[in-house]
């Protein structure tokens, strides 16, 4: 009987025994990311272990390296919240002088990347270090107990954006860090999701194989912060893609006029012109995504807030060069 090759290596770098919450989508993301990275290193340098990780402070850092234990089977360093990109720059420079082949993987959450770490990230990308920066985006400061970040979506409840008499919850649209990264005209930028693991693995490998800096932003679910069922992480992430909330795209060499938009699935109708996606008619309303998460529960009492979110999502897609139709429930 033919044995099917596993979709990604069976080697593990993110070992079992870490202390992440049950159902943590980000833990899944890191496991897949490091496996993909290792495959890329094997293909590029003939050595699956040819990488080191610089990790920003955040939940994935805290749960993976509680002294005297570690969940990491790769060389790994954590320094502070805002400087994973700068630390990675230093490691990369040292490896160059040591004549060591391989690539550095920097990992940060949305707080450590979109907010406090933005400057260090920009510096690292602009200086063209041979580093892949992986932003795991769970859309709030989960490590400190669910406070809003600039990557928190409109309308979401967090402990610092609570809905109330005068508040809808988070009142600003989500910051699109992948587009900021792309503005550095680096070789590779992509968004990914744990809702499409094969695509994520492919993108991590591609990012790891380019010469120079790359940036991957992966949306990953957080049952604690999103108030969502433990077992529904991948389903929710997939719904984010299928309802238009989370676009999957790639930008190579900073060519933002040639963003490669991926078909979302979920019955969405994709219109292409010259191979390029120009319009998407989504079939599933964003409500299907929102309703599985307690952080959006209050929005259902104010449907106009959901409409507002729909408009923001349309505007975001427009920046990506795509006209989208987002249906309301029952449409």
């Amino acid at each position: 009987m033919a044995v099917r090759k596993p979709p990604v290596t069976t080697r593990e770098y993110w070992a079992p025994g870490h202390a992440a919450c049950a159902g943590c989508g980000c833990a899944t993301a890191l496991r897949l990311a490091t496996k993909a990275f290792s495959e890329a290193m094997e293909e590029k340098y003939g050595d699956p272990d040819a990488f080191a990780i610089a990790h920003a402070t955040g939940c994935m850092e805290v749960v993976s390296a509680v002294f005297p234990y570690t969940a990491w089977k790769a060389p790994w360093i954590h320094v502070a919240f805002e400087n994973a990109a700068a630390v990675a720059s230093g490691i990369e420079a040292a490896w160059k002088k040591l004549g060591r082949k391989g690539k550095i993987l920097a990992i940060g959450g949305d707080g450590g990347t979109a907010d406090i770490g933005m400057q260090a990230l920009s510096g690292m990308l602009e200086r063209w270090h041979n580093v892949v920066y992986l932003m795991y985006d769970n859309e709030a400061y989960m490590n400190t107990g669910i406070q809003r970040s600039s990557s928190t979506p409109y309308g979401a409840w967090t402990t610092t954006s609570p809905p109330g008499k005068y508040s809808i919850g988070e009142d600003k649209p989500k910051k699109w860090v992948a587009l900021i990264a792309a503005a550095h005209q680096i070789p590779y930028v992509a968004t990914a999701s744990i809702g499409n693991p094969f695509d994520f693995i492919r993108k991590m490998k591609k990012a790891a194989k380019v010469d120079g800096p790359a940036f991957v932003q992966v949306q990953c679910t957080c049952p604690t912060g999103w108030k969502s069922p433990l077992e529904k992480g991948v389903e929710i992430a997939r719904l984010a893609i299928e309802t238009g909330v989370w676009p999957l795209f790639e930008i190579e060499n900073g060519d933002i006029w040639n963003i490669k938009i991926q078909a979302p699935g979920g019955g969405a109708k994709v219109k292409r012109e010259g191979g390029r996606v120009v319009a998407i008619e989504f079939k599933k309303p964003i409500e299907e995504y929102l309703k599985l998460q307690g952080r959006f529960k209050h929005l259902f009492k104010q449907p106009e807030a959901i409409d507002q979110l729909r408009e923001q999502i349309k505007a975001m897609w427009k920046v990506l060069g795509v006209e989208v139709t987002l249906p309301k429930p029952g449409e």
């Binding site: 390296a65 400087n83 230093g90």
Partner: protein
């Protein structure tokens, strides 16, 4: 043969870096230290220094990149001053806690506000509790020599702590003096190659660095930094002795000048020590029993040497270019700690002067001397005295 060149302290620091052969340098320009990265980038551009020079976007990233490089196992150097050092503050603790022997050259400069680019020691003094070793240079030669010594001590397995070497803004950073550049071969012998056993980020031997320390472990890690600081005292003496043997220049944690039979000993750091020695000569000519002492090593604080010094004087007059609020200068606190339980001790009078680049003149020192003499005569004096204050603009 060593060669002599006329240069600024900033250039001397860059020369020291070149001689130490760091593999990674990460720096951001800041007055008055900008010439250090400029000169280093010239060395790198001309192939005289085989290093990666990372032109970072901030001092915070400079020290972060140094941490990354040092954790990857290579010798690492940077330079900064004042606000730049303050911006590094958070990561300075981490570098010490992770036991990474990074060396920073500092053009000692005042801190805002008001913004001021001139000399005092507040920048490095404010970092005294980070765990870093601290050396202060009197002149440009010392700036070069102490950076080499700083690498030697920092990388010693008994220490493994980062080190900063301060030299006064403009008074040294921008003033030319003859500086002897040691032979490269001798420096290579003195420093050797840095091969860490505790920090390397090598895929062949993966380790986790910078883990989370629960209450069960954090205190022991901090004690490790304390212990290393204590261990550094002996290592510094050894390094000074070896340096003297190899290069002929003698260093001591506390250098004394004409302290024999002194009633009053002035104590200071940095370039002010040069002025002070001349002042002491001037007083000795007048028959006054006055001496000087210079604190070259501020962290670890040379408690034993201070006790020895204290035995020689009736009054210790501390001249400080920094302020620790409600205390006086930082040296006042350190000297008090060293002497508080001694059965016989001199009076200590503290003087704050020269902040933000204000000149310290013989007239200012006369003012301090008059107060020290009152103390010597048993009169009551203020413990903390601000010298050269322009009271008319207060």
């Amino acid at each position: 043969m060593p060669i002599k060149k006329v240069m600024k302290a900033n250039e001397a620091a860059a020369w020291a870096a070149k001689l130490a052969k760091p593999k990674v340098i990460a720096a951001f320009p800041i007055t008055p230290s900008t010439l250090v990265p400029e000169k280093i980038s010239e060395f790198v551009a001309d192939g005289e220094l085989d290093a990666e020079f990372i032109k970072v976007e901030s001092e915070h990233s400079a020290i972060s990149a140094c941490v990354g490089a040092s954790a990857a196992g290579v010798r690492t150097f940077t330079a900064t001053a004042s606000q730049g050092l303050a911006l590094m503050h958070e990561i300075l603790f981490i570098a010490a806690g992770m036991r990474l022997p990074i060396v920073i050259a500092i053009g000692n400069r005042a801190l805002s506000a008001p913004i001021n680019i001139w000399n005092d020691w507040q920048d490095t003094i404010s970092e005294r509790d980070t765990g870093w070793l601290q050396f202060y240079a009197e002149n440009n030669q010392e700036a070069l020599d102490l950076i080499l010594i700083a690498f030697k001590v920092a990388e010693d397995e008994r220490v493994l702590l980062p080190a900063m070497v301060g030299f006064d803004a403009f008074i040294l950073t921008h003033t030319v003096e003859p500086v002897e550049i040691p032979d490269q071969e001798l420096v290579d012998e003195f420093l050797g190659e840095y091969v860490p056993k505790h920090a390397y980020l090598d895929p062949a031997k993966p380790i986790t660095q910078g883990a989370l320390g629960f209450p069960a472990h954090y205190m022991e890690a901090r004690y490790g930094v304390w212990e290393a600081n204590e261990a550094a005292k002996k290592v510094i003496d050894e390094a000074f002795a070896e340096f003297e043997k190899k290069f002929g220049r003698k260093y001591q944690k506390i250098e004394e000048y004409r302290t024999e039979d002194a009633d009053i000993i002035f104590v200071t750091m940095g370039s002010l020590a040069g002025t002070l020695k001349e002042y002491v000569d001037h007083l000795r000519e007048k028959g006054l029993k006055v001496g000087a002492a210079k604190v070259t090593v501020y962290r670890p604080f040379p408690v034993e040497e201070v006790r020895e010094l204290a035995k020689k004087a009736k009054v210790l007059a501390l001249l400080e270019k920094n302020v620790t609020f409600s205390v006086g200068g930082a040296l006042f606190q350190d000297f008090s700690r060293a002497l508080i339980n001694e059965s016989e001790k001199p009076k200590i009078v503290d003087f704050i002067l020269g902040l933000g680049g204000r000149d310290v003149t013989f007239k200012d020192l006369d003012e301090a001397l008059a107060i020290a003499q009152k103390a010597l005569n048993g009169e009551k004096v203020e413990e903390v005295n601000w010298i050269g204050l322009r009271k008319e603009i207060l």
